[in-house]
C-alpha cells in the first residue's frame, strides 16, 4: 500500500475524532474535560503528522523546488496546530475557541493534502519511495 493511501485512512479516523470534539463543544462540555480529551486528540494528530513528515514530506521536499515550497507551507500548519494544542493545555486559557481553530485548521489541512500534496507526491515520487514501510 502507498503511504498516501495509509495517510488518507488515518485522516478519516482523525476526522471522526474531530467531529466528536466538535459535538462536545456544542454540548458545552466543561473546559477542564475538553482540555483532557484534547490531550488524546493531540497525541493522535501528532502520531499522524510525525509519520507524514518522515515518510512523505522528507522525500517529497527533496524532489523539486515547488514540492519543497509546498511541503514548507504544509509543515507550518503542523507547527501552528502544535502551538494551539499547547495553549489548550494551559489551564489559564479557555480552550473552546482554540479547539474550534484546531478543528477548522486541521479539517482544511487534510483536504488540502488530499487534493494537492498527495497527488503531487504520487506524480513525483517513485513507487518504491511511496510504498508504506509500516503497512
Amino acid at each position: 500500500m502507498r503511504i498516501t493511501e495509509s495517510l488518507r485512512i488515518e485522516h478519516d479516523l482523525l476526522r471522526n475524532m474531530l467531529e466528536a470534539m466538535s459535538r462536545w463543544l456544542t454540548e458545552s462540555v466543561a473546559a477542564d474535560k475538553l482540555r483532557e480529551r484534547a490531550m488524546m486528540l493531540e497525541a493522535a494528530i501528532n502520531i499522524h503528522s510525525a509519520r507524514e513528515e518522515r515518510q512523505l514530506f522528507a522525500p517529497l521536499s527533496a524532489s523539486s523546488d515547488i514540492a519543497h515550497d509546498l511541503v514548507s507551507m504544509i509543515e507550518r500548519v503542523h507547527s501552528e496546530v502544535r502551538d494551539l494544542f499547547k495553549q489548550v493545555a494551559d489551564p489559564g486559557q479557555n480552550p473552546e475557541d482554540l479547539l474550534r481553530d484546531i478543528l477548522r485548521l486541521t479539517n482544511e489541512h487534510f483536504t488540502e493534502e488530499e487534493t494537492g500534496l498527495f497527488p503531487l507526491a504520487e506524480k513525483l515520487l517513485p513507487a518504491e519511495v511511496l510504498e508504506d514501510d509500516n503497512s
Binding site: M1, K33, R37, M39, M40, L41, A44
Partner: protein, 135 residues
Amino acid sequence: MKITESLEVEHALLRKMIEAMSQWLTESVDPDKLRERAVMLEMAIDDHAAREEAQLFAPLAACSNSAHELVNLMEMVHTEVRDLFDQVADPARDPKEQLWTILMLTTEHFTKEETGVFPMAERLLGAEFLEIHNS
C-alpha cells in the same frame, strides 16, 4: 485497497494511541484526567470497531460456521471493551485497572484479527469483495 488493509492501518494508529495512554498510566496522571482522555480513546476504538463489524464481520460471519464462530469471539471482545469503558467513565471508580485491561485486551485482539480473522476473510470473501470502492 482492501478493507482488511484499511483496518490494519487504523490498528497501527490506535496502537500508538494505546501507547500514549499506557505512558500516562505509568506517569500516575490523575484519575479524573485519565477518565477524560479515555473518552477520546473510546470514541476512536468504537468508531473503528463499528466499521469493522459492518464492513467485514457481517459478510464474513455468513460464509461458514467456523467463520461465524470466530466473528462471535471477536465481537465478544468488542462488547467487553465497551463495558470496560463504561466502568472507566464511572467517577466513583478508580479507572486505572480497567484501563490497563482495555490496553492489554485491545492490543492482543488487534494481533488476533491480523493473524487470524483478516487472512480468513481474504481467503473466504476474496479480493474483489473486500475492495473498498470509495478509496
